[in-house]
Structures are given as structure tokens and as C-alpha cells.
């Protein structure tokens, strides 16, 4: 009886430890950190889930779009997010000195790959009527 009880307790504690380690691992494990995020697509990563706008730059009057400098505190990485708010549009998301993603078709929003957020990262966005044919651009937003 006593052995059975202790076996049950030990087994339960073991399961508890494994479960908590698993939960903690899932909650805190970032996809990448700082420079290791360079060139990585944030889509489907932990960075994507906790990101917020560090800066928003609106397009000119009548353009109905903005560019957000997205920042993930878990990954310490920035990227560029361009969003249209009057339907689909050809858009681009650019990070200064690194890369530009040009949407090959009209989208709701576009984003580009991440860059090390330990230093200042500047982003801007484009919107237009065709692939790489842009009428509007936002100023740089740096964070």
C-alpha cells in the first residue's frame, strides 16, 4: 500500500515537472533573438505573435495606407508592415539598407523579413496600382 502510494506520488510529480517545463518552454521560447532573426520571415513565428507597432507612418492624404515598424519584444527584432485600409492594393514593405518586399499581386497587407532590433531600424511602405508601380510612399519610421 505504502509503496503504491509513493510510486503514485513520484509518478505524478514527474508528470507535473515535465508538464511545467513544457508549458514554460512553449511560453518563453522565441523563434530567434536579435541578429539571429536577420533574414527570417516573421510569419508563423513567435515574433509574429507578440509584435506591436513601434512607429506608424501614414501615407499622404487620400492614399489610405500606413506603414508600421513592427517590433517583437520576444525576438528583439523589427520588420516592416504595410497595410491598406480601403481594399486590396499593390504594396511594398521596406527596411532601410536591408531589403524590400514587393507584393506581386494586390494584398490586404504585406510584410518583410526581420532585422536585429538591438539597434535602430527604419521602415517605410509603398502603395500603388501595379507591381512595383507605386504612387505613394510613407516617410521612414525609425525605432
Amino acid at each position: 500500500m505504502g509503496t503504491s502510494l509513493w510510486r503514485t506520488v513520484l509518478l505524478s510529480l514527474g508528470i507535473a515537472v515535465l508538464f511545467l517545463v513544457g508549458v514554460r518552454g512553449e511560453a518563453s521560447a522565441a523563434t530567434c533573438y536579435g541578429a539571429s532573426c536577420n533574414w527570417k520571415d516573421p510569419y508563423g513565428t513567435s515574433c509574429w505573435n507578440d509584435a506591436y507597432y513601434a512607429v506608424i507612418r501614414y501615407g499622404p492624404s487620400g492614399s489610405y495606407f500606413y506603414n508600421g515598424n513592427k517590433y517583437s519584444p520576444g525576438c528583439v527584432a523589427n520588420w516592416s508592415h504595410t497595410q491598406s485600409y480601403n481594399g486590396y492594393a499593390y504594396m511594398a514593405a521596406q527596411t532601410a539598407g536591408v531589403y524590400t518586399y514587393h507584393g506581386p499581386r494586390p494584398y490586404l497587407y504585406v510584410w518583410n523579413n526581420m532585422w536585429d532590433g538591438r539597434s535602430v531600424v527604419c521602415t517605410r511602405g509603398f502603395k500603388g496600382s501595379g507591381y512595383q508601380t507605386y504612387q505613394w510612399v510613407t516617410p521612414w519610421g525609425c525605432a
Binding site: 505524478s12 507535473a16 511560453a27 505573435n49 513601434a54 520588420w79 490586404l108 510584410w111 518583410n112
Partner: protein, 224 residues
């Protein structure tokens, strides 16, 4: 044997409680929090709240340059979610929307754990002829994108729920396409209500993906 089961159940309850508390501790998963259909303050509905809120706002700094007015406001937000403020500056009867909104201390790891955050608003305006003029700085609204702007499965489920009020039968899925340096998203419609075009459906869903709270706060600035 009965005592064993008693202990086992007790431990399982304890472990379950700890795991639940850990998984849903404050500050984790802003995207998920944004998807609650009704919040403590009733702010999460897809309908724009009609009565404006009056958050605590303090003006930290106003800087006037030749071609812009920069105003720093600290705002106590209704929740800890990543709300975005939107402000205007009225000068000489002209309403100038903010062209840039910058979150101060944006890279502070605890910034989203605080309800009071400070923002620098930039209003592009030629100020040379406005010396000494009074301007009205107005915080117009706070807005929040479901899923922090990314239409994941949970956002799509919430959008389907919201859309049933305005466009019953609307069914869609979101396609995320990835390219060499990034990606983009578009919608594929599986069913559209009679008389609704895909363009109208896109516009409706864009509206429904964003919560907006009108704000009643303004102050007068002297442009020196």
C-alpha cells in the same frame, strides 16, 4: 488505494492550476486578448462604441519646427493591449491628422505590461506664419487590430462571427503567401451573400478587423 487516488487527484489539480496560471499570466499573448468578444469595459465588440471615453492624458512636450508640430502625450489606455492612438491638430480651421505616431520606449520589454504609454505625434504643418497662433490638439480615438494586424485562424473565426451580423453567409479564408523577402495576405471567398461583391466583402472585413474607441480629450496649444 483510495488514499493514492486522493493524492493523485490533488496533485493533478495543483499542476493544472499552476499550468493554467502560467499559461494565462498577464502580459502574454496580446493577440489572444484582443479576440475576447466582450471585455470588462465592453470595448471588444465589432461595433464602434458610441460613447467616447475620457482616458487620463498628460501633455509631456510640444516642439514646433519649421514644418511640423511634435506633441508628446502620455495616455492611460483602457487595457494593456497594443492600442494605437490617433490625433489631430486644428490650426486656423485646418484639421491636420497625425502623420506619424511613435511609441516612446518602444523597445522596453515591459512597455506592453503598462497601461500608461507615451507617444510622439507628428503633425506636418508650415509653422512660419503661425507664430503665436492657438491650436487645438485632439485625441480622436484609440484603435486596435485583431491579432495585432495578422489574420490568423483565431482572427478569421472572430471575423466570421462578427460578419454574420452584417453579411450572413459570408465565408472566406485568408491566404498568406510568402516570397523571398517577405509576404502578403489576401482573401479567398467561399460564399458571398447575394448582392455583395468581393470588394465590398473585403472592405467590410477590414472594418470588422479593427476596434475603435472614440476619445473625448483635447487641449489648446500656443504655437511659439
Amino acid at each position: 488505494m483510495r488514499r493514492s487516488w486522493f493524492w493523485l487527484m490533488g496533485i493533478l489539480v495543483l499542476v493544472g492550476g499552476l499550468a493554467y496560471g502560467f499559461a494565462f499570466r498577464p502580459g502574454r499573448g496580446y493577440a489572444g486578448q484582443a479576440l475576447r468578444p466582450e471585455g470588462r469595459l465592453g470595448l471588444y465588440g465589432y461595433l464602434r462604441q458610441t460613447r467616447p471615453i475620457t482616458p487620463r492624458v498628460s501633455v509631456q512636450d510640444v516642439t514646433v519646427t519649421d514644418d511640423a508640430v511634435h506633441a508628446t502625450l502620455c495616455i492611460t489606455l483602457p487595457t494593456k493591449e497594443p492600442w494605437n492612438p490617433y490625433a489631430t491638430l486644428t490650426v486656423d480651421g485646418q484639421v491636420i491628422p497625425n502623420a506619424e505616431v511613435r511609441l516612446l520606449d518602444a523597445k522596453d520589454p515591459d512597455i506592453m505590461r503598462r497601461k500608461t504609454r507615451c507617444y510622439v505625434f507628428l503633425f506636418p504643418v508650415k509653422t512660419a506664419r503661425l507664430q503665436g497662433t492657438q491650436a487645438t490638439l485632439r485625441l480622436e480615438m484609440l484603435w486596435l487590430e485583431l491579432g495585432n494586424g495578422y489574420w490568423n485562424d483565431r482572427v478569421v473565426a472572430e471575423l466570421h462571427r462578427r460578419a454574420q451580423v452584417f453579411a450572413p453567409g459570408l465565408r472566406f479564408r485568408v491566404v498568406h503567401e510568402r516570397g523571398k523577402y517577405g509576404g502578403g495576405a489576401y482573401l479567398e471567398f467561399q460564399a458571398l451573400p447575394q448582392g455583395m461583391t468581393p470588394e465590398q466583402a473585403v472592405a467590410l472585413l477590414q472594418q470588422l478587423s479593427r476596434d475603435e474607441i472614440p476619445v473625448a480629450w483635447q487641449t489648446t496649444l500656443s504655437l511659439k
